[in-house]
Amino acid sequence: MRWFWIDRFIEFERGDSAKSVKNVTLAEEHLHDHFPGFPVMPGSLMIEGMAQTGGILLGEINDFEHIVILAKVPQMTFHSWACPGDQLIYSAKITNAGDEGGAVDVTAMVGDRLVAEGSIIFVHLDQSDSEFGAIDQKNFVFSMNLLGILDVGKAGNGQDQA
């Protein structure tokens, strides 16, 4: 399994907001354990999807110069759930972006139904930071693989998605 919890971006306003899509599918192994007979997308993975959406939005401001990692989820409320076949739309809006890190407000929607809302705080780590020199960047949002998501925000016909 690869640690991609969004499928593609559908909106990207630099330094302001972004929206991404996560299509929930019964092919995802974890749904068969969460829960047997009642597959629902785990809330923790929705948070990860919203964090990937917001983290890329924040990192892009500085052209991905910093490693941006999820530091804290000060609040997150789940109002509903997402099942196989649902299309989750994650929205992230920057509420603070500075040298040390940033914060976003996020929502997860399925159609008109609000599934989750909250906020997420990120910190910047720099490769020069001795304390964190040993971090394997592959585990983080800004490995080049995940950045590829930014390139695939097009439909099969090559048109931008509305």
Binding site: K72, P74, T95, N96, D99, E100, I121, V123
Partner: protein, 128 residues
């Protein structure tokens, strides 16, 4: 300009939200880490919330100075702040009350300088 009481009320609200506390836990002398259970990552959250609540920018390291206590800073010897280190703390943290700290300026006690009152002092000076 808000009064000191008004600043305190906003700080209390900020800390209640950021750290999941009850109102009555937030008293002026409470230390953020020791008494209120803040972790280093919460400092960023607190700074962001204060920026929003007071519509100000808090430059990195101004409210919670960084790197002063690291062993290679030149301000610390054998886990204790030197005279130069204490002078540096006074300069970088005019909002902190160092009176008790200077009697036993161990590095591990530096976190006790971060109190609710320190936040109020910082904001009062900033908003003046």
């Amino acid at each position: 300009m808000p009064t000191r009481d008004e600043i305190f009320d906003s700080v209390r609200e900020t800390l209640v939200d950021a750290l999941g506390l009850d109102d009555d836990e937030v008293v002026p002398e409470a230390t953020l880490m020791g008494d209120l259970g803040a972790e280093s990552i919460d400092f960023l959250d607190i700074a962001f919330r204060l920026e929003k609540a007071f519509d100000i920018k808090i430059p990195r390291g101004e409210l919670f100075p960084e790197n002063i206590a690291s062993s290679d800073s030149g301000f610390v010897k054998d886990g204790v702040f030197t005279e130069t280190g204490i002078a540096e703390l006074r300069e970088k943290m005019p909002h902190a009350n160092l009176d008790t700290f200077v009697e036993d300026p161990k590095v591990e006690k530096m976190q006790d300088l971060f109190t609710v009152d320190m936040l109020v002092n910082f904001l009062e000076a900033r908003l003046a």
